[in-house]
Each structure stands twice: as structure tokens, then as C-alpha cells.
């Protein structure tokens, strides 16, 4: 499903060059559950951002579902992000002035879907996540765990094939953290490819495939 070949990402910080990703080669199968771990600055977030088309590699090839992605135009990349990739962030990134319902609906709105279709799809997903009674609350009226579940609902409403989570439990207490991880795993069981970046060893070891990064390189790739 995903093939990275010789991916390099070099940042220019002042007059210094920082090699955030150093010749990454990686293949991810459809439906895989990956965790990316490593110390701060090891490049795990950079790798996730490149997988999510939020960042461009300095060199290398990225194939998503057999399609060369890095050479796509800005608009085409936006469309790929909208249709194929879902993001879950550490700080939720919900729009504060919008209700839970409207936040979940946002990707459908951007895609130009008709309101009646949108309503149905949002209701189904809120029902699945047990958030129906919170649909018309604003984010500041929700607990951290509820906010992250709303964010997950938003990330999956377009039925993407790839779900990227950057420290999804980093801002939650351990109980809601476990809740959120369980929701993500349930989605993975439903067929979605899941990549989780985390500091938390407990969360990381639950994944079927565990990558460890140090200084921009993958130093360990464990399965099972």
C-alpha cells in the first residue's frame, strides 16, 4: 500500500543542515498497524508528516496505492489528503466555534457533499463512537477523551485507507488514552491502515509492527 524509497528530509536551521530523515526505505501493507517510537528529534513526526503529505521529502520516492505522490501538484495532494488520509493530532485541533457535529462534518463540507448525505454519515459515525448525546456540544464542553474521539470521527468520516495518529494519547489521562487507542484499534480491525507515533511504550507495543527510529533512521522493525 505504501512504499518509501530513499526518503531524505533535510531542514535548514540557520546555517546548519539537519538531516531529519536519512535514507528511509519502508513498505507498509494494507491494514497494517504500525507504531513509530523513538526519542525526540529522531524524525518520527517528520516521517508521519511525509506519509500524510503535510511535508515534502527533500529526495526519494513515495508511492501510495501504487501512485507516485511526491510529484503531485498542491491541489492534487490536498485531494489525496482529503480522500485517502485521516489525521489524529495530539492537541485534537477541533474548531472551537463549531459543535462536535460540525467538526466531524467538516471534511464532507470541504469535499462538497450534499447536506442530507452529510447528516446521515455524521450521525452513523457519532452513534458508533457513542457520542450522539454530545453532537451539539462545542469542544470546550467536552472532556479530553471525547474531544479526541470527535477528532477520530472527523479523521475517518471520509473513509480513508490510511489513518495517521501523532501522539493521540499524549494529552489524555491513561484511562481516556486507553479508550482512544481501543477506538483506533477497532478501526484498524475494520481494515484501515493505522500508523501511530507515540512516546508511550505501553501504547507502542500494542501495535502489530513496531518501528524504532534514532537520528532519522529506522533502527528496529519488529513484528508480532
Amino acid at each position: 500500500m505504501i512504499t518509501l524509497e530513499g526518503i531524505n528530509r533535510i531542514f535548514q536551521v540557520g546555517d546548519q543542515q539537519v538531516h531529519a530523515l536519512d535514507d528511509i526505505n519502508l513498505t507498509i501493507q494494507p491494514g497494517e498497524y504500525l507504531s513509530l517510537m523513538g526519542p525526540s528529534g529522531s524524525g518520527k513526526s517528520t516521517l508521519l508528516n511525509i506519509l500524510g503529505l503535510l511535508d515534502k521529502p527533500t529526495s526519494g520516492r513515495y508511492l501510495l496505492e501504487g501512485r507516485e505522490i511526491t510529484s503531485l501538484s498542491d491541489d492534487e495532494q490536498a485531494t489525496v489528503r482529503g480522500e485517502k488520509i485521516g489525521f489524529v493530532f495530539q492537541f485534537f485541533h477541533l474548531v472551537p466555534r463549531m459543535s462536535a457535529f460540525e467538526n466531524v462534518e467538516l471534511p464532507l463540507v470541504l469535499a462538497g457533499m450534499a447536506p442530507s448525505v452529510r447528516r446521515e454519515r455524521v450521525n452513523v459515525i457519532l452513534e458508533q463512537l457513542g457520542l450522539m448525546d454530545r453532537a451539539h456540544h462545542r469542544p470546550d464542553q467536552l472532556s479530553g477523551g471525547q474531544r479526541q474521539r470527535i477528532a477520530i470521527a472527523r479523521a475517518t468520516i471520509m473513509k480513508p485507507s490510511l489513518l495517521l495518529a501523532d501522539e493521540p494519547t499524549g494529552n489524555l489521562d491513561s484511562r481516556s488514552g486507553t479508550d482512544v487507542v481501543e477506538v483506533l484499534e477497532k478501526l484498524n480491525a475494520g481494515g484501515i491502515t493505522l500508523v501511530v507515533v507515540t512516546h508511550d511504550g505501553q501504547v507502542g507495543k500494542r501495535a502489530g509492527r513496531r518501528l524504532r527510529m534514532v537520528d532519522g533512521a529506522i533502527v528496529k522493525d519488529e513484528r508480532g
Binding site: 508528516n49 500524510g52 503535510l54 511535508d55 498542491d74 491541489d75 490536498a78 485531494t79 489528503r81 482529503g82 480522500e83 489525521f87 493530532f89 492537541f91 485541533h93 474548531v95 466555534r97 463549531m98 460540525e102 467538516l106 471534511p107 463540507v109 470541504l110 469535499a111 462538497g112 450534499a114 472527523r154 471520509m158
Partner: protein
């Protein structure tokens, strides 16, 4: 993205900062209100004056003695001005399309009647005067169609003068003195009111030839030529020129069509309206700067939201439209507030000062609102482009 969703999305952020949005739109509102109110007054005055001028009809050509031109050098003996005579007036009657010709001599004299004396305007005119200027005769008749050179000593009173001298009593057949000469009253006019400050009812009409004698004038002050509705004004003017030049041996008179007078008037009032509109335009400019400022702040505040939208699949174009839409909504709301203020103000003004002519044409309302929208677009372009140019990842990281 559907257009109603664009509007909904932009509106939601405008509504999220209600106080801020209202304060921002205030600049536009004041500007639009000023433009609407001032142009309403300007247009009202314009219409009022036009109505005053055209109540006598628009197909009038006025001929005055003397040519209004500047000569480069003294033209000596050839530049003599011959007065406009009653014979000239007669001759003009034969020009095609001309329906009536009214010689006019105007002055001021004491009028005596029933032992009372009043100083009023005296109009020396021809028998065709009431028909030409749409003046109605209340009782009796107007001056008869006598020989212009030796008319009988008949007079017609304006309604106010009639009331001042005779009250409710019948004045027909009574004798009066105008500037010492004896006249017989043959009729009096319906009330016509004031035109541009002149009381048309405080007058007496006598035959032009007698007025010439009364005021010791050599020639007429003006000849008014009326032509048929729809007839070409240029041909009438050409006819007037031909007849008078052949009679005078040169162009020593000035012909002014009603249309020329209206054009001059219209252009003066148009400049006035434009000037007051420009004053409002300055406050609109200030309002536009206010929107620009608030949009720059909004883009900075919502940087991480922009990053999120990009991550969710929004294109740069969509981000651009969202923020442009927001600026336009702000200015359009300000415009609507301004329209309400301006129209309300105009109405209130008219209510408080009924004499003040106020008129707000629909086209002005639409233009003012369109102007507000254009200002919003102009003010929104820079912030919206800045928002669209952001890199998704950097925007997401901004907190």
C-alpha cells in the same frame, strides 16, 4: 465545497466574534449611511429644482437680446445690438413647429385699485401667455389678441394681488392704475404658488407694448418661443436664428433652449452630489482599512485552523475563498447597516423638515451595497492570499 457552505463557514467565524465584527463593520456602515443620506439629499434637491423648472414644459426656447460671446478685439460700429421688438416676436410665429410666441417685459410698479396700493411685479406679455406656460385663468379671460402695437388697456391680476386689492369681491370690469396708467381688469389667474422664491400670484399682466411704454424700454427683455411636443429643438433654433438674423442683419441675440438650461443645472447639481458622495467615500475607505486590519488579525489567530483545513483536504483556493468570503460578509453586513441608517436618516429628515426634498433612488441603494461588497473584496484579498499561501504543516504547528 458548496457555495452555501462557504457562506455558512465564513458566517460562523463572523458570528463567533460578534462584538468585534459589529465594531469592524461600523466604519463601512457609517460610510454607506453618509453616502446614502447625502446623495439622497442631493438627488432630492436635484429633482425639486428640475420640477420647478420644468413645470412650464420643456419645449421652450428663450431669446434674449445681445450675444454672449467674447470678442478678441473691439468690433466697432458693426457690433451694435438691436433690441428685440414686438415685430420680431410676430415674425417668429411663422417658424415651423412653433405653437406660440410670448414677448416678455418685466418690471416693478405700483398698482392701485379700490383705494389700495400695492407694489408688485408687472409682466408685459402677449395673449398666448397662459397657454404657453400652462397658467389657468380663474375668472374672466386673459388679455385679448389685440394688435400688438396698439393693444387696449386691459389687465389681468394674479390671485394674490386680486385678493389684496379686491378681497372676495368681484374684480372683473373694475378699474385699476398700474404705474399711474388706467387699466380695466378683464380676468384673474388661478394660484400658481412660488417658483424658486418668486411669487407668481403677486403679479399683474398687461400687454407687452404698454409695459414697454411704462418702463420706458426700447425692446423686449425676452421672447419665449414654444414649439410642438416632440419637434426637433435644433430645427426650431435654426428657424429662430434664420428669421432674426435676416431681420437684424447679424446675430445680436442669444437663443437658449430649456434643455440647455436643464443641462447646466443638472451638471451643477451632479457635481454637488458627487462631492458629498466623495465625502462618504472617504469614510468607506477608512472602513475598508478596518476590515483589512481585522482580517489580518483573524488569519493570524486562526493559523492552526488553516493548517487543519489543509490537512482535511482543503485546497489553497478554498482557504482563499473562506477568508475573502468573511471580508465580504463583514462589509456587506456593514453596508446593510449603513443602508438602514442612511434611509432611516433620510426618512427622519424628511419627517422633521418636510420642506427638505429627499429622494433615495433604488439604484443608489444597490450601488452603495455593491460598493460595500467591492470594498470587502479589496480589503480581503491580501489577508486571504496570505492565508492561502501558508504551508499546511507550519500552519498546523502554530498555536
Amino acid at each position: 465545497m458548496l457555495s452555501r457552505d462557504f457562506i455558512g463557514f465564513s458566517l460562523s467565524s463572523v458570528m463567533a466574534h460578534r462584538t468585534r465584527s459589529i465594531l469592524t463593520t461600523m466604519g463601512i456602515a457609517v460610510g454607506i449611511a453618509a453616502v446614502v443620506l447625502l446623495t439622497s439629499i442631493g438627488e432630492g434637491v436635484n429633482r425639486f429644482v428640475l420640477a420647478e423648472f420644468t413645470q412650464f414644459g420643456t419645449n421652450i426656447v428663450a431669446i434674449n437680446p445681445g450675444k454672449v460671446t467674447t470678442f478678441g478685439a473691439p468690433t466697432g460700429v458693426f457690433n451694435t445690438v438691436r433690441p428685440l421688438s414686438l415685430e420680431d416676436s410676430d415674425a417668429l410665429n411663422k417658424i415651423p413647429y412653433v405653437t406660440s410666441v410670448v414677448p416678455v417685459v418685466q418690471g416693478n410698479a405700483e398698482v392701485e385699485g379700490q383705494g389700495r396700493t400695492r407694489r408688485t411685479m408687472v409682466y408685459g406679455v402677449g395673449s398666448q401667455f397662459p397657454g404657453a406656460f400652462k397658467f389657468g385663468v380663474a375668472a374672466g379671460g386673459f388679455l385679448p389678441d389685440d394688435d400688438p402695437r396698439a393693444p387696449r388697456a386691459y389687465a389681468v391680476l394674479g390671485s394674490k394681488l386680486k385678493n389684496e386689492l379686491f378681497g372676495e369681491a368681484n374684480a372683473l370690469g373694475e378699474r385699476i392704475r398700474v404705474g399711474g396708467d388706467r387699466y380695466r381688469v378683464v380676468g384673474y389667474m388661478q394660484s400658481k404658488g412660488q417658483v424658486l422664491g418668486f411669487d407668481l400670484d403677486d403679479t399683474v399682466y398687461i400687454p407687452a407694448a404698454r409695459a414697454l411704454d411704462l418702463f420706458g424700454r426700447e425692446g423686449l427683455m425676452e421672447i419665449d418661443v414654444l414649439y410642438a411636443e416632440g419637434a426637433p429643438a435644433e430645427e426650431v433654433v435654426a428657424g429662430v436664428n434664420r428669421v432674426l438674423i435676416s431681420r437684424h442683419g447679424g446675430e445680436d441675440f442669444t437663443v437658449t433652449t430649456q434643455q440647455q438650461m436643464l443641462d447646466v443645472l443638472g451638471s451643477v447639481l451632479g457635481v454637488l452630489t458627487f462631492a458629498v458622495g466623495a465625502l462618504g467615500g472617504i469614510s468607506l475607505l477608512v472602513g475598508g482599512v478596518g476590515i483589512l486590519t481585522i482580517m489580518i488579525i483573524a488569519v493570524r489567530e486562526r493559523t492552526s485552523e488553516i493548517g487543519l483545513l489543509r490537512a482535511l483536504g482543503a485546497t489553497r483556493q478554498q482557504i482563499l475563498r473562506v477568508f475573502l468570503g468573511e471580508a465580504v460578509i463583514l462589509s456587506a453586513l456593514g453596508g446593510l447597516m449603513g443602508l438602514a441608517l442612511g434611509i432611516g436618516g433620510a426618512w427622519l429628515l424628511h419627517f422633521l423638515i418636510p420642506a427638505m426634498p429627499v429622494h433615495t433612488p433604488v439604484s443608489y441603494i444597490l450601488m452603495a451595497e455593491a460598493m460595500a461588497v467591492v470594498i470587502g473584496l479589496a480589503a480581503g484579498v491580501t489577508p486571504a492570499r496570505r492565508a492561502a499561501a501558508m504551508e499546511p504543516l507550519e500552519a498546523l504547528r502554530a498555536e
